[in-house]
Assembly symmetry: C2
Homo-oligomer: 159 residues x 2
DNA sequence: CTCACAAATTGAATATTATTCTAAATTTTC
DNA sequence: GAAAATTTAGAATAATATTCAATTTGTGAG
């Protein structure tokens, strides 16, 4: 009975998703031309996809270096949070430099993706923000030397 | 002398980036209102930010579950690629289900983020695609149980 | 200080687009 | 197979994007 329980997408919806995932700023008119429907009908579908939380956000991918966020790191961390309690994760998620927080299977409880200006500011972030979060038992930080690919493009099924 | 060597962004540029990162579909008119400039001037700046590769892509974040991509995994993998040679990374990047490929410091050479429908299709992907890539010595797969936060929002400096 | 050049900005005009609404068509349900 | 609900098309209007010439602003040289 949750909000995703009965999402049914037809071929046209998937085509719209594919086009919008590629270019969020595509005009509704172009979208309509591509899927060969009237603009009004397409707009209606887009609105519904937004309401059904299929379309989550229109965002712009920025060059991290251009805004002085050159360092990328993954931090695997163990927490003493009991099962069903995710205070640690919630607190981590509040940190702006933290892009992702995943609860993972295996020894380490969480995998966190962080972006900062440089290693010094990462250290600062860990000292100032991470250290204030209770229940963190240990952290293991992996610095990214080079990013070869970074996209959030999903593989959208044919039908 | 590379393409990013002399990117200088003023307060207005940063404000534009902040707004567009939040909502890629913001109209140029609204953008102009927010930063209190003429629409034409703002458009000019956006075009330049695109040319300078500060704005990389306008994309739409989709609900992975809605398009049957419920499984998220991170794969740490070792490769026998020599230094300066990144065939493995390039091949990995070609796989559509692979969202990210990072060259990392430490024992494991690469960290890869993958999305598939379920664990069965992940296995299939590894058997069919990963196994065809030469030089991969070993893989260590971490399954994500739950994602608490997933954003690519960068922290944009004040000035 | 002022000139001259380049870059950025404005404002107006036009083309394109978004959005709304009603009627028609299609699909679903009983 | 008919009624109800949903979806779509088409037309009309409001809003927006985009272009361009003219003005302003910023920068460095003399």
């Amino acid at each position: 009975m949750n909000s995703e329980s009965e999402i049914v997408l037809d071929k046209t919806d998937l085509a719209i998703l594919r086009l919008m995932q590629e270019n969020a700023r595509i005009s509704n008119a172009d979208l309509a031309r591509e899927v060969e429907m009237a603009p009004s009908a397409v707009l209606e579908r887009v609105r519904k996809l937004e309401q059904k939380n299929v379309l989550l956000q229109y965002t712009t991918r920025l060059n991290p270096a251009a805004v002085n966020q050159k360092l990328l790191a993954f931090i695997a961390l163990r927490s003493s949070d009991g099962m069903g309690c995710n205070t640690t994760a919630t607190e981590l998620a509040k940190i702006p430099q933290v892009q992702e927080v995943h609860h993972i299977a295996g020894d380490d409880c969480y995998l966190v993706k962080v972006r900062t200006a440089d290693s010094a500011s990462l250290m600062e972030l860990m000292r100032n923000s991470f250290s204030k979060i209770p229940n963190i038992l240990s952290t293991r930080t992996t610095i990214v030397l080079e990013t070869v690919k970074e996209a959030q493009q999903l593989v959208i099924p044919e039908k």
